[in-house]
């Protein structure tokens, strides 16, 4: 419903364009694969995958992607460096688009970069994330092998409002010696995606939505969030069918993010694509119509 005065940067990762003026580009939809307790993973440490099941899931995923014509990417979660290699190998030739490297361990996240470089797909991998908790060791690893693309996370342990998020990126908000954007530049990251850090509804998840607008107005960089995280923490237990309610709220969260101007949306497990991508497609269409004359 609006247009930014600040020029908006559009980047291309793995053939998908990310960023730009709302309504004048499609929203990138990012789903998680190999996440904790994902049934396609037989052994998370060795990276053993149930291949028939993975193929089945990906077939269904492609059907939805094609049907909704959504730009899409995958968030790969690994628990070991070996698993990271297995997962990358399993999807990099089969699934187009950006591949986000995620793990609870910095060593594993860094290993994604090494494997990607070996496989010649480093330009498709998005490091997830550069954040306030980067250790010296992880910084060293990133400097030694800078990712081409990275998500910079605006999470601020001190302030969960809009200001806290923006200052974390801008100047480190007196917690860090410098802003995370400067850190990303120092590492040598070429393409930055901003993540407005949604945790729980109690942690002011809604502020992330307005922070998207502020961040795009300030820097013009591709910006998004994972509002899905807030839905996961939502207390719906008093309802007759909490699971059903959560599914509807979760799908709506995609539309809410897009209407707030998000360039990308992290919607949760890749299996949720079947209900979130049609919503994204419709929201994109509405946005396109609303800004046609802007």
């Amino acid at each position: 419903m609006f247009k930014f005065q600040t020029a908006q940067r559009q980047i291309c990762i793995g053939g998908e364009n990310i960023g730009g003026q709302p309504g004048h580009r499609r929203t990138l939809m990012i789903g998680s694969l190999f996440y904790p307790r994902h049934t396609v993973v037989l052994d998370p440490h060795e990276g053993v995958i149930d291949r028939p099941k993975l193929n089945d899931r990906l077939d269904r995923y492609f059907e939805v992607v094609d049907g909704c014509r959504c730009p899409s990417g995958l968030m790969l979660y690994a628990e070991s460096a070996k698993a990271a290699r297995e997962y990358l190998e399993a999807v990099c030739d089969r699934v187009p688009g950006p591949l986000f490297a995620d793990s609870g361990s910095s060593e594993v996240r860094l290993s994604f970069l090494k494997h990607a470089e070996d496989m010649g797909v480093l330009d498709r991998v998005v490091y997830n994330t550069v954040n306030a908790g980067l250790s010296d060791q992880e910084m060293e690893g990133l400097r030694a092998r800078p990712p081409v693309n990275a998500v910079v996370l605006a999470f601020n342990p001190r302030g969960d409002d809009v200001k806290g998020r923006i200052y974390m990126l801008e100047n480190g908000d007196d917690i860090l010696p410098q802003g995370l954007l400067e850190t990303a530049e120092e590492i040598g990251i070429k393409n930055v995606l901003l993540d407005m850090a949604v945790t729980s509804p109690e942690m002011s998840a809604g502020a992330a939505l307005r922070a998207i607008m502020v961040a795009k107005a300030k820097w013009g960089l591709p910006t998004g969030c994972a509002l899905h995280n807030a839905v996961e923490c939502l207390d719906l237990e008093k309802l007759q069918d909490p699971k059903e309610a959560r599914r509807h709220v979760d799908s709506s969260a995609v539309a809410i993010s897009i209407l707030a101007g998000a360039d990308y949306v992290v919607y949760g497990p890749v299996e949720y694509a079947r209900r979130t991508m049609p919503v994204a497609s419709f929201a994109d269409m509405m946005m396109e119509q609303s800004v046609r004359d802007l």
Binding site: M1, F2, K3, F4, Q5, T6, V162, K163, I166, R210, M213, V214, K216, A217, K218, V291, L294
Partner: protein
């Protein structure tokens, strides 16, 4: 004496000279002149009658040693910053912090507290040696002001005379005012105000048959980061000061 690592407090287009000097040199408009650094404490340019002038005030009141402001250069059409500074010293500001009795376009000092403005008026006296050639409306006819040999000599003579005088540091120490709006670089502030003006004016150029009135207000997205939404055009705009942008819009649109 103020510390060089904490003063000047506002960024801007200036150079520092002798920190013991009580003289500040202000070049109005788009000019440059080279004078020995021992003859001034700070020398800078002033282009705008709002944020630009606010920066001058903030840097002067935070250094109580400065007691004289030498104003030189040439008036600029539109902004009339020279007129604004004279009117400020003669008349002060009204309750909306608009400089009283100036021909400047948007002479609001809305990012400063009233006591900062009063302190400035008390702290310095103005020595005006501006070129009195009338400002031209079209910049093409009014190129960047070049100090002639005579005007530079005149400035040097005045600065030498002032350097020979004794000054008393204003009692009470420095007054430090910090404002988000004043932290930006001069070029960036001017550009943002220019773009905001375009955004405000564009709807007025539409045909009346478009049927939308232009009286609707701006939507505040973030005061802290100066982000506004102009609802008629659906433009998210960034401004150095939300309050100044509101007044700029009000001035330009007459609403």
């Amino acid at each position: 004496m103020v510390e060089r690592d904490t003063w000047p407090v506002a960024s801007g287009d200036y150079v520092l000279g002798d920190e013991g000097s009580s003289v500040a040199v202000l070049i109005v408009g788009r000019g440059a002149v080279d004078v020995p650094a021992e003859l001034f404490c700070i020398k800078g340019i002033l282009k705008t009658e709002n944020i630009g002038l606010e920066k001058v005030i903030v840097n002067i009141i935070s250094n109580p040693r400065i007691r004289v402001l030498v104003v030189c250069g040439k008036e600029e059409f539109g902004h009339f910053p020279g007129s604004a500074i004279h009117a400020l010293m003669d008349n002060g500001v009204d309750e909306r912090r608009r400089i009283i009795g100036t021909s400047s376009a948007i002479p609001f000092l809305c990012d400063l507290p009233a006591e900062a403005i009063e302190r400035f008026r008390q702290q310095v006296r103005i020595v005006d040696i501006m070129d009195d050639t009338p400002a031209q409306e079209l910049q093409a006819y009014d190129p960047i002001y070049e100090f002639s040999t005579e005007s530079r000599e005149r400035l040097l003579t005045v600065l030498r005379e002032l350097a020979a005088l004794d000054y008393e540091t204003l009692p009470g120490g420095p007054m430090v005012v910090r404002s988000k709006a004043l932290s930006g670089e001069g070029g960036s502030i001017a550009r943002q105000l220019h773009l905001a003006s375009d955004d405000f004016i564009s709807p007025m150029l539409r045909m009346p048959s478009d049927g939308l009135n232009t009286g609707m207000g701006l939507v505040l997205v973030s005061e802290e980061f100066g982000v506004l939404l102009e609802p008629l055009q659906g433009r998210v705009i960034t401004v150095p000061s939300v309050e100044l942008a509101m007044r700029l819009r009000s001035y330009l649109m007459g609403v």
